[in-house]
């Protein structure tokens, strides 16, 4: 049988959604997203079963977490801008974009650390605090992985590993970073916004 699709030349080691890496990461995101769904289920379940007001002590303050959310989103934006650059062959733009994203991501992690330090009690104090530290902690672990990915991309970009024609890793790595940001929005909404909506 003549397969028409075989008659045209095919890209070797393609990038984007035609590469295996892209599909692999999309699948990783599916399963990681499920992990966060179950952690947030734990929050909702313990909250709904709580005999006392939830969260204990009222909704956590937005003073740090609000601006920090903006910082993380800006980081995604900067990385995206860098990626646009390498697609047009501008290596400098990629390096700059990744560097900004890395710095903003590190700032986010630092502020998150401040927020942890400002809590008067630790995770073993109550179920709520166990949830708070565990879920933000699991997210922070994802941020750490994301920062390592950004750092690797930055080093490789600086060494000239990526060109307009070959930047498969950038797209896949940044997909992960965008996912980390998107998950933060869900975590942020769960811990900081839902108590203000009167859901529990």
């Amino acid at each position: 049988m003549a397969d028409l699709s075989l008659d045209r030349p095919l890209p070797v080691a393609p990038s984007g959604y035609r590469s295996s890496g892209w599909w692999g990461l999309a699948t990783v995101i599916a399963t990681e997203a499920a992990l966060f769904v179950f952690l947030i289920f734990a929050y909702a379940y313990l909250g709904s079963q709580s005999a006392t007001p939830w969260p204990p002590g009222g909704a956590p303050a937005l003073r740090l977490a609000g601006p920090n959310t903006v910082v993380l989103l800006a980081s995604s934006l900067a990385a995206w801008w860098g990626q646009k650059g390498i697609e047009r062959g501008r290596r400098g733009q990629l390096v700059l974009g990744l560097a900004i994203a890395l710095v903003l991501g590190a700032v986010f992690a630092g502020v998150q650390g401040l927020e942890w330090a400002a809590k008067p009690h630790g995770p073993s104090d109550s179920a709520y605090l166990s949830l708070y530290f565990t879920i933000t902690g699991v997210h922070l672990a994802h941020v750490a992985v994301g920062l390592a990915v950004l750092l690797a991309l930055l080093v490789w970009a600086a060494l000239g590993e990526f060109t307009a024609a070959r930047h498969e890793h950038v797209g896949v790595g940044l997909l992960y970073w965008h996912f980390v940001d998107a998950v933060w929005l869900v975590v942020f909404t769960t811990f900081y916004l839902t108590p203000r909506m009167g859901i529990f």
Binding site: V12, F38, L46, A127, T134, H169
Partner: protein
């Protein structure tokens, strides 16, 4: 087919492919191999070792329960052994053995040269082995998990179980989850990307449907268990309060998370095995499977409904009747897709001309066991009746009919079926038939009386029982049967060992089977297909005789791809050629990463935080080395030529 093996150009081409794809026969080569066939065989062998270990544990339990007031085991030993038996069979045997078949077979079934991520595949095996070693290390510490494979809190909390036992469980399960997850990712992407041109989704073997359904389900179900175990470990190590009532936690949170994972997992353990039957049984009936589309869709439907029935493990926890009605009814509905498959198999035998090989006997026997396990499941789906049946031996009978009936019998049948492909030699049929009848009779003698014991009110997970309850008779029969069943399994093991060197040569297609794996030599060359096939029907090797479809599959196409390790990528649904993938070579990195993770988990178990940190750093560096970008420039070329 014209034998072109003597054509000098073809000889040269194959030599070139062999040089590119073959793993050097050295220790380092062996440890570095990313060949899916090699990994598949390792999975199978390791899973069978765990099957035997779990079986020995079961026999010890049966000695203890053979008579009332028996004192072979202390209560503590009994609890550790029955927990280990469950953990071994469910986590370390049942899914890995299916991963073994699927790893070995998928690229051959789909007409590809390897899985989408060969290195990930090797990593998935090494982490499976690492997690198995991690869990079994607890046996040598005398602190094996002891709160059941379901590990309910607060019994599994630190207050009631202060040893390392449950830490081993929680960390071991998270560790094994890494293996399961990356394995599932590999199957999903392989299915989406590396099928042969023309292998559209309605031409895929049912085994592929079963494994992809299980893999997608695992992507969403395994994180529930990972989350549950992570929270348990945090409760135990850092005094958190997820499950602990005093601090505002809830014991039932564990049960929801556990069963949200647990029920889909049960289907992940059976659907690929049902796929084995759906693909292999028709070969011996000399006809295609009746109702291919219905069976494929039933496979998916089972899993979709399977995500909505987790609460049927929790009918006795005191739930609102409306919730129980919903989950009870959903549990009834799940029988419908199973009925589709059962009737399709029977219709296939009925309208075919069965050839009674050993493999066929295992598949036919499986159908009866599946129906018995199915109807007892149907009884437990009836909520008020479940209040009586749950946690009795009736459920033990049910789950063994389901798990052994649907997993072990098809797996052994599949072994008889594909062993010639894997080794080039047939297994002994006479010994095989002895093994079948011994195992089949032993199985029923062992597990059928458990229904009776259960209906007589014998609870599960008791290390002993008093005389005069009427339970002694059924238990003695069960214990005798379990040894007969074990003998049947051992006969197959003996058959494998013997046939590996002494079996009759098999040839490429000893059963005259219809699917692609039988179009290549037995055992297949490292590169699988010298020329990638172009598929035009569900039964490429039967289509001439069946007159199936309009076109004809091309097994000896002009798709050569000899420039290094390459295979073809196709589009997800229609399987049209889309790209040429460069495949990675052999590398020890997956093994080293698996070792680093093993060190990490042992460090976490013994709270060696510095060692854990070091293992994490090493893991990160290994991952960076793994993912280092290639400098080879992208290009375009024709797949033909």
């Amino acid at each position: 087919m014209v034998d072109r093996a003597l054509d000098p150009a073809v000889v040269l081409e194959r030599r070139q492919l062999a040089q590119t794809w073959e793993t050097p026969r050295t220790v380092v080569g062996w440890l570095s191999s990313v060949d899916h066939k090699e990994i598949g065989k390792r999975y199978l062998v390791t899973a069978f070792v765990f099957l035997l270990l779990g079986g020995v544990e079961a026999l010890i339990l049966r000695l203890q329960l053979a008579r009332p007031n028996e004192a072979v085991l202390s209560p503590e030993a009994y609890d550790q052994i029955f927990t280990l038996h469950g953990v071994t069979m469910i986590f370390l045997y049942a899914l890995p053995v299916l991963s073994g078949f699927s790893n070995y077979l998928w690229p051959l079934l789909l007409g590809s040269r390897d899985m989408a991520f060969p290195r990930l595949n090797a990593f998935s095996y090494w982490t499976f082995l690492g997690a198995g070693v991690f869990i079994y290390a607890s046996v040598f510490m005398g602190q094996a998990p002891n709160a059941g494979w379901f590990d309910y809190v607060p019994l599994a909390g630190r207050e009631h179980d202060p040893g390392l036992n449950i830490d081993v469980y929680a960390l071991g399960i998270v560790f094994l989850g890494v293996s399961t997850t990356v394995g599932a990712i590999n199957f999903v992407v392989t299915l989406l990307r590396t099928r042969a041109p023309g292998m559209s989704i309605n031409r895929m073997p049912i085994l592929v449907w079963g494994t992809i359904t299980a893999s997608v389900a695992n992507l969403f179900a395994v994180p529930a268990l990972t989350a549950a175990c992570l929270l348990l470990w945090l409760d135990r190590q850092f005094g958190m309060h997820f499950y602990d009532i005093a601090g505002g936690g809830q014991p039932l949170l564990w049960q929801h998370l556990f069963w949200f994972f647990g029920h889909p997992w049960v289907y992940a353990l059976v659907l690929p095995a049902m796929g084995i039957v759906s693909d292999a049984l028709p070969t011996f009936c000399r006809r295609p499977l009746v109702g291919y589309t219905a069976v494929a869709l039933a496979t998916v439907a089972t899993m979709v409904i399977g995500f909505g029935v987790w609460v049927h493990h929790m009918f006795a926890v005191g739930m609102p009747p409306l919730a129980m009605s919903f989950f009870g009814a959903a549990s009834m509905v799940i029988a419908i897709p199973s009925a589709v498959s059962v009737f399709a198999w029977i219709a296939t035998i009925w309208t075919g001309r069965p050839v009674w090989t050993t493999a066929f006997l295992y598949f036919a026997g499986f159908i009866l066991l599946f129906v018995i396990g199915g109807v007892s499941g149907f009884m437990t789906a009836a909520v008020p009746l479940d209040w009586q049946l749950t946690d009795t031996y009736f459920v033990v009978a049910h789950l063994h009919y389901v798990l052994l009936g649907i997993n072990v019998f098809p797996v052994i049948g599949g072994l008889y079926y594909w062993f010639p492909k894997m080794t080039g030699r047939l297994m002994d049929e006479r010994l095989g038939k002895w093994s079948f009848w011994t195992a089949f009779i032993g199985f029923n003698v062992a597990f059928f009386p458990m229904h009776v014991a259960g209906l007589m009110g014998m609870p599960r997970r008791i290390y002993t029982y008093p005389a005069g309850m009427g339970w002694g008779g059924p238990n003695l029969i069960t214990s005798v049967g379990s040894f007969v069943f074990a003998a049947g399994v051992l006969l197959t093991v003996w058959n494998v060992i013997r046939s590996r060197t002494r079996g009759a040569p098999a040839g490429a297609n000893p059963w005259d089977a219809p699917t692609l794996e039988w179009s290549v030599a037995s055992p297949p060359p490292a590169y699988n297909f010298a020329r990638l096939p172009i598929v035009a029907s569900r039964h490429p090797l039967w289509e001439d005789r069946l007159g199936e479809g309009t076109g004809r599959s091309v097994l000896d196409s002009d798709i050569r791809l000899t420039e290094g390790r390459e295979t073809l990528a196709t589009t997800p649904l229609d399987a049209e050629a889309d790209a040429i993938l460069r495949m990675p070579g052999d590398t020890p990195i997956p093994l080293l990463l698996g070792l680093a993770l093993t060190v990490l988990f042992f460090a976490l178990l013994w709270k060696g935080w510095w060692l854990a940190g070091a293992a994490l750093v090493v893991s990160a560096l290994l991952t960076a080395a793994w993912l280092r970008p290639s400098r080879r420039a992208p290009r375009e070329e024709s797949a033909r030529g």
